[in-house]
């Protein structure tokens, strides 16, 4: 008779998962390139730790003075800061978390409550959550040092606030994953973005016509913010300082109520996962499409891009564009620059018109245009540093077909260039419509600078993609990161390029004018094109030498 395994206790399961995460992390450091990875990880970690410690110190000092000077009505601002950081930073700070598909645990005998608690614990293990939790302790410490008599109440409020945030953080994560998993909801979200963007174009007009009335309405809305969790936490502590136990407990109960509400939505999502929900790109197969087509029709038609490019490069560029529009995360990134350009155009355009009344000021587009194009560059070229990330096992296709990697990379780079051109054109058109085009010299200097920066970024990106590839999951937001060294190279390159561009602009503007900037960037672009070509030629040989690393890192 075979033994039947007894159910493990929840504590034992949590311990097993903690050990698992540690083992995954330790094994990763034992792999090839581990030393370089570790250096990248340490440097990124060091900067993040400095940021967290510095901010924590600021929060502690702030909380101390707020409590000491009996201005506890201001504590709400600190709670708001922690709250926003807790839920906005996870995406940015996911660059050094261990990748682990939490849902894979469902294959084991795990009850739904256990799965729920493990999920919350898993959320707490996120570096962003740990950082925010540390800030909560700093706030508590600051208040406790200044007003020891408030420590019990502050501990209660901060604990409830932290617990609510842990649950909310996980809830946002799992719901976002759910919403972005299917094409239809993704399209709806994109449509919302576009609507918001279009709506912003009318905000100036609306502001001018109904501005004062809207402002007073907005002020009237402010008290309602007091009902939101960070304000409630602030109110609770303020009430504790003023010895109003009823308000203290009501506010804390309200905070806990939010926690329960978020916990319920998290429960719903996790219950669906527990019951076997599979998030997929397209809808489940319902009815089959009748097959009365001729074979060529069954294969569909190639897109127009294939018509004007040579075979493999065209195929690669076409594939990249298809991947781009099917990946919710990269697709959303495309909508950010136009949105930001409209927002900035309104902000600065409005200010400049006011400033222009007494004395004519330079057109804002003169500054906005280069700034926004630079922003687009950062956004669009960043994925080129890990350009095989979403190919996964498909890398084997590239390795077995009779095509050199220089053509594969050229196709990928071309797609990046097309996206960049589209984004720049869209943003330029929006700016032109809203605040006018920049002077011709600025336009030319900016565009020549873009060519230079793009070529350099793609050159370095091709190398990091081959040397430090890292697989990313399609359409997922959390725990998706390039390798530590890639992140480091990317940041270093962007910093260096910003320095070079600023230097060129300043030097030529004051020495010889913007035509000289254009000429200098043109010369730099010619040099960068030469380097790009030489490196691209070498990429085929590098790819052959790196084929095992590529397979190992991307096929797992």
């Amino acid at each position: 008779m075979a033994d039947v395994a007894r159910p493990a206790s929840l504590a034992a399961q949590v311990l097993v998962i903690a050990r698992l995460r540690w083992t995954i992390f330790r094994n990763r450091l034992r792999q090839r390139n581990a030393a370089i990875e570790l250096i990248g990880l340490l440097i990124t970690g060091l900067f993040s730790a400095l940021f967290i410690l510095g901010t924590g110190a600021g929060i502690a000092v702030g909380a101390y003075f707020i409590a000491a000077k009996n201005r506890l009505d201001l504590l709400g601002f600190l709670f708001w800061g922690i709250f926003l950081a807790w839920h906005l930073f996870p995406v940015m700070m996911s660059s050094f978390t261990v990748q682990f598909d939490f849902r894979s645990l469902l294959r084991f005998s795990l009850s739904l409550p256990a799965f729920y608690i493990l999920s919350v614990a898993y959320g707490l293990a996120d570096p962003a959550a740990l950082g925010s939790l540390f800030w909560c302790f700093c706030l508590l410490g600051g208040v406790g040092f200044a007003r020891p008599e408030l420590l019990p109440a502050a501990t209660l409020v901060v604990a409830v606030f932290a617990a609510m945030n842990v649950v909310l953080d996980r809830m946002i994560g799992v719901w976002l994953e759910r919403l972005l998993a299917q094409r239809r909801t993704r399209e709806a979200l994109v449509a919302l973005f576009i609507l918001a963007m279009v709506g912003l174009q009318f905000s100036g007009m609306i502001g001018e016509r109904w501005g004062p009335r809207l402002f007073s309405r907005g002020q009237a809305m402010l008290p309602y913010l007091r009902g939101l969790p960070p304000s409630l936490a602030g109110t609770a502590l303020e009430a504790a300082a003023k010895s109003h136990p009823a308000i203290l407990f009501a506010s804390t109960a309200g905070l806990a109520g939010y926690g329960v509400l978020f916990g319920y939505f998290l429960w719903r999502r996790l219950r669906a996962q527990y019951r076997g929900e599979e998030l997929s790109e397209s809808r489940a197969p319902g009815k089959s499409v009748s097959v009365a087509k001729r074979p060529a029709e069954a294969a569909g038609t190639p897109s127009a891009i294939a018509a004007w490019l040579p075979g493999p490069v065209a195929a690669m560029a076409e594939k990249e564009l298809r991947y781009l529009v099917r990946n919710s995360i990269t697709l959303m990134n495309l909508f950010v620059p136009p949105l930001v350009s409209v927002f900035l155009a309104y902000q600065f355009g409005h200010l400049s018109r006011i400033a222009a009344r007494p004395a004519p000021a330079p057109a804002p587009s003169q500054f906005l245009f280069p700034g926004l194009i630079g922003y687009i560059l950062l956004l669009v070229t960043a994925p080129a540093y890990n350009c095989f990330a979403y190919d996964g096992r498909g890398i084997q296709t590239y390795l077995v077909v009779p095509v050199r990697f220089k053509e594969i990379l050229l196709g990928k780079n071309l797609a990046t260039g097309l996206v960049l051109a589209f984004e720049a054109l869209l943003t330029g058109t929006l700016l032109g419509f809203l605040i006018g085009l920049p002077p011709f010299t600025v336009l030319m200097a900016t565009l020549s600078g873009v060519v230079f920066v793009t070529l350099i970024q793609l050159t370095v990106g091709n190398l990091t993609s081959l040397y430090y590839p890292r697989r990313l999951e399609f359409g997922q937001l959390r725990n998706q990161r390039a390798s530590g060294i890639t992140v480091l190279v990317l940041l270093g390159m962007q910093f260096a390029l910003i320095l070079v561009i600023s230097g060129v602009f300043l030097l030529t503007r004051w020495l010889a004018g913007l035509w000289a900037t254009f000429a200098l960037f043109l010369a730099l672009s010619a040099g960068a094109a030469g380097i790009y070509r030489v490196v691209l030629e070498k990429c085929s040989a590098i790819a052959v030498a790196q084929r095992e690393v590529l397979s190992e890192k991307l096929c797992r």
Binding site: A2, K319, R322, R393
Partner: protein
Amino acid sequence: MNTPAIVTEKLSRRFGELVAVDRMDLAVEGGQFFGFLGPNGAGKSTTIKMLTGLLAPSSGRMRLLGLDFETNPLEVKRQIGVVPEGLGLLDRLTGAEYLRFVAQMYGLDRRTAAQRAGELLEFMQLADRPKSVIADYSHGMQKKLALAAAVIHGPKILFLDEPFEGVDALAAGALKAMLQRMTARGVTIFLTSHVLEIVERLCSHVAIIHKGRLVAQGSLEELRAGIAASSALAGRDVSADGEKLTLEQIFVSIVGEEGGRRPMEELSWLM
């Protein structure tokens, strides 16, 4: 005299201390349906990866259709088709998009690529989900698509790593018929499979690898004769019922002799 399809000379591959493939001398003639067998971890996939350019040999040489892989990688790749171990699909494309992509990578023009992709989708019974991306296909469907991609350019050698695993019986029958027609037309098929009945039914020649070393190679008849002769010398009768030895018996006999340590037969908590 015909050029052999695949020839390896002292082909080796090491992973640190581990010798995955040890000085392998393999010869496969053109038009053969060649089965490459071995227990788990014997070095089958490593060999296929080297022969298809996915892995660099540590030492030794390999020639495909008379071409040295090291010096003519693109020409060799043009002549071969591969279904690799992990299938190697770009899983966010639809089946049709992927097949057209692969065809273009092999240099086919757009019209031919679309024509062949359509035919293959029909043949593999994958044409009824034109909008589904590959990630939403079942494993068997993905395998059929990988096979379709491997033959879209009309290769002269086809490398198949476990091609029938997860494929339904109906599709497997059509695939086997297609592969047999291909060998009849001179295409060499190099196949690994753990299902020895399939190998026995399809393959004319077989090689067995064990612990990285090639321990047997030849036609099924040659292997049977070899086993019978060595058994007679040892005074054993490997075919007790007097019938022809099956490939499974040949495999167990060869790998068992080479294997040394016998696997455990019982687990303490299942007794």
